[in-house]
């Protein structure tokens, strides 16, 4: 009993709300990946152990499962702070912004970099609760500055918008090259 108690004391730590949820997810993911090592990696005849394609995935996943297991144990024996599911809700809320990001990435080749950036900046500012003219004009200005710096000056590799093809000749060329 004393040994168990000592072990608990050794692993006890400060944990934030939601810590144990993440610890479980990470531990189970490590076990799941480790269980697939036979089908997802190969052993090549004639190669030394260290040169086997399976060697490093096996080392890393075993290490991941080992440390994740101890992290989970530490989480289980540490004092719980309430608010676990509220915290998980915040994690899930962030997925909404991941979709905003992906929608932006899909829109750029169609609408063009400048219009997509302006649209995203304005919509995101409205979504974040800003309604003032200063915030909206600030968002527009930020979008314009970002496009001018990266596309017009640094010529970063970004596709031109398909809608630019509908513009009159002179303007189309400028938009294709700089915006």
């Amino acid at each position: 009993m004393t040994y168990i108690w000592t072990l608990q004391a050794l692993f006890r730590r400060y944990r934030r709300p939601g810590d144990i949820v993440f610890a479980w997810i990470f531990f189970l993911s490590a076990l799941l990946l480790l269980s697939r090592i036979g089908s997802q990696t190969q052993v090549v005849d004639g190669n030394k152990l260290f040169a086997q394609p399976r060697f490093w995935p096996a080392i890393s996943l075993s290490g991941m499962a080992f440390f994740a297991g101890l992290h989970l144990f530490g989480s289980a024996v540490s004092e719980r702070i309430p608010g676990r599911w509220r915290e998980v809700t915040i994690w899930l809320q962030s997925i909404e912004y991941a979709f905003w990001f992906l929608a932006y990435a899909i829109a750029v080749p169609w609408l063009g970099y400048l219009p997509s950036t302006l649209l995203l900046a304005l919509l995101l500012v409205l979504r974040s609760g800003y309604r003032s003219g200063l915030a909206l004009s600030g968002a527009g200005l930020v979008a314009l500055v970002v496009v001018v710096i990266f596309k017009s000056f640094l010529h970063v590799k970004l596709p031109s918008g398909a809608v630019y093809e509908l513009l009159p000749d002179g303007l189309r060329q400028i938009m294709l090259t700089y915006f």
Partner: protein, 496 residues
């Protein structure tokens, strides 16, 4: 090389940009470097690197400003500056605290560069002694240090470092051409791109974090008057400044350790040797100097393992390593023999950036206090828009954006739980180095003991044993220190 207009412009943009980015709480140099990384690939190596170096070396100067004025560090490594900087502001000494932070940062920065320059001849001799097995062992030491350096979070750091090592194994094995953990998906055959992971974990996660956070807009005190006064006061505490910078250099040179340990050692030293130790944490100028001098000495020192061995000590140098590789400049033992002009250009640019930054801060600190006021969610929108440039310009790939978004969510969870992100990045970089070097080393090794039969390999091996031994000793001591209380509790509850 440095007298070219494009190099000087890159240095200016990087230095000034780094200060501005550092001054905005919630952005930080890792986010900025991650975003700018793909943009620098189209530039020449010295141009791209000086810009990133500028951001890396100058962000901590800017980060001191909100740490002193609003008790919020601009970058994570300025956290200790709040201990003494903010109490000084509260008692009406904001100008003194800010100018002292700038002076200490400058002292630490220049000290680090001078050490780097004076160590170069030694590096040029020692670096070629590193073969495959020495580099493998040094990378292994780096992984062990990055895990053990996260005190109180060793298990989390361990699992995340292992996750990073696993990520770099995904895809086509470069020697045997077999698939590893691709699950039949063709897009995974080329592996998981380090820069996409970096952008997701650092930049996108920060954008998501700011966007889901409650909105806030800090209002710092206004700063008027001369800011050079700090140099005079720093001179009175030159011993603390020099020793702290020395700790910064030492800790910066060791992969995986970095600013936090350097600050801890410097602060402890400053407090123990101070005539007024009771003032520490309540507005001690020596505490402020110890914090800022040590963290600013680290960037130059962190370049030592990167340039000499190709081993990054932390996330920012890991990102810079990818710029080296893109331009076919391979850091490591041969760099000092084949690209000495490049090395000296880097040293000079580090000196110049410190000069540019200190002049810029003397004239632009007041406008910088307005930048601190950008509201949280508005800042999130800016970071999200900028992150897109970094991810999408790499290969114009929606798949990259999806991977980055997934790592962005993971990064948000880690940040909310206060779990470290850096082990994942170092795991990816050092894991790749370990795999390649172990393969080439084992071709000439017959027994495991042959791995350590050369002097440097043996020394690194001893260092590994020492580091692990030291950690176990610390754990046992901490545990023993807690035991009486625990025994007492058990006796009270009659559980024995």
């Amino acid at each position: 090389m440095l007298m070219r207009w494009d190099v000087l412009l890159a240095l200016l943009v990087g230095s000034v940009g780094g200060v501005v980015i550092g001054a905005i709480p919630g952005v930080g140099p890792a986010v900025a470097i991650a975003i700018l990384l793909p943009a620098t690939f189209s530039l020449q190596p010295i141009v791209g690197l000086t810009m990133l170096l500028g951001i890396y070396g100058s962000s901590m100067y800017g980060g001191a400003l909100p740490a002193v004025l609003i008790n919020t560090p601009g970058t994570a490594v300025n956290a200790l500056t709040t201990y003494d900087g903010y109490p000084m502001t509260r008692r009406g000494e904001a100008r003194r605290a800010v100018s002292l932070a700038y002076a200490a940062s400058f002292w630490g920065g220049m000290f680090g560069i001078l050490c780097l320059i004076f160590l170069s001849p030694v590096l040029a001799i020692v670096a070629p002694m590193f073969g495959s097995r020495e580099i493998f062992l040094a990378a292994l030491l780096g992984i062990i240090l990055v895990i053990l350096a996260h005190r109180g979070q060793v298990m989390a750091a361990g699992m995340l470092a292992m996750f990073g090592i696993f990520l770099q194994t995904v895809g086509l094995d470069p020697v045997t051409y077999t698939q590893r953990y691709t699950f039949g998906a063709t897009w995974l055959s080329s592996g998981i791109n380090l820069i996409v992971v970096v952008l997701g974990l650092f930049a996108l996660s920060q954008a998501f974090l700011l966007l889901v956070d409650k909105d806030d807009s800090p209002h710092p005190q206004s700063l008027d008057g001369d800011l050079t006064m700090g140099f005079k006061e720093l001179f009175r505490h030159k011993r603390v400044a020099t020793v702290s910078s020395g700790f910064g250099v030492l800790m910066g040179m060791i992969p995986g350790v970095g600013e936090f340990t350097a600050q801890f050692l410097s602060y402890t030293y400053a407090q123990k040797t101070s005539k007024n130790p009771e003032l520490f944490g309540k507005g001690s100028p020596e505490g402020l100097i110890a914090s800022e001098a040590s963290n600013n000495a680290v960037p130059a020192a962190a370049m030592i393992p990167l340039l000499a061995l190709g081993i990054p000590g932390e996330a920012l140098t890991a990102m810079m390593l990818s710029v080296f590789y893109v331009h076919n400049v391979i850091p490591g033992p041969q760099l000092f023999q084949q690209h000495l002009d490049f090395i000296y250009a880097l040293y000079l640019s580090l000196i110049l950036l410190n000069l540019i930054v200190i002049v810029f801060l003397m004239v632009a600190t007041k406008p910088l206090t307005y930048i601190i006021r950008v509201p949280t969610r508005f800042l999130g929108m800016i970071v999200l828009v900028l992150s897109f440039v970094g991810v999408y310009s790499l290969r114009n790939s929606i798949t990259d954006c999806m991977v980055a978004a997934a790592f962005g969510v993971l990064g948000l969870v880690l940040k909310r739980l206060n779990l470290p992100i850096v082990p994942i990045i170092l795991g990816m970089v050092l894991g790749g180095i370990m795999e390649v070097k172990l393969r080439s080393a084992m071709a000439r090794v017959k027994t495991p003991l042959d791995m350590i039969d050369r002097p440097i390999a043996f020394l690194i091996f001893l260092s590994i044993l020492f580091v692990i031994g030291l950690h176990v000793r610390t754990l046992v001591r901490e545990h023993r220190a807690r035991l009486p209380e625990l025994d007492h509790d058990m006796h009270d509850t009659q559980q024995r």
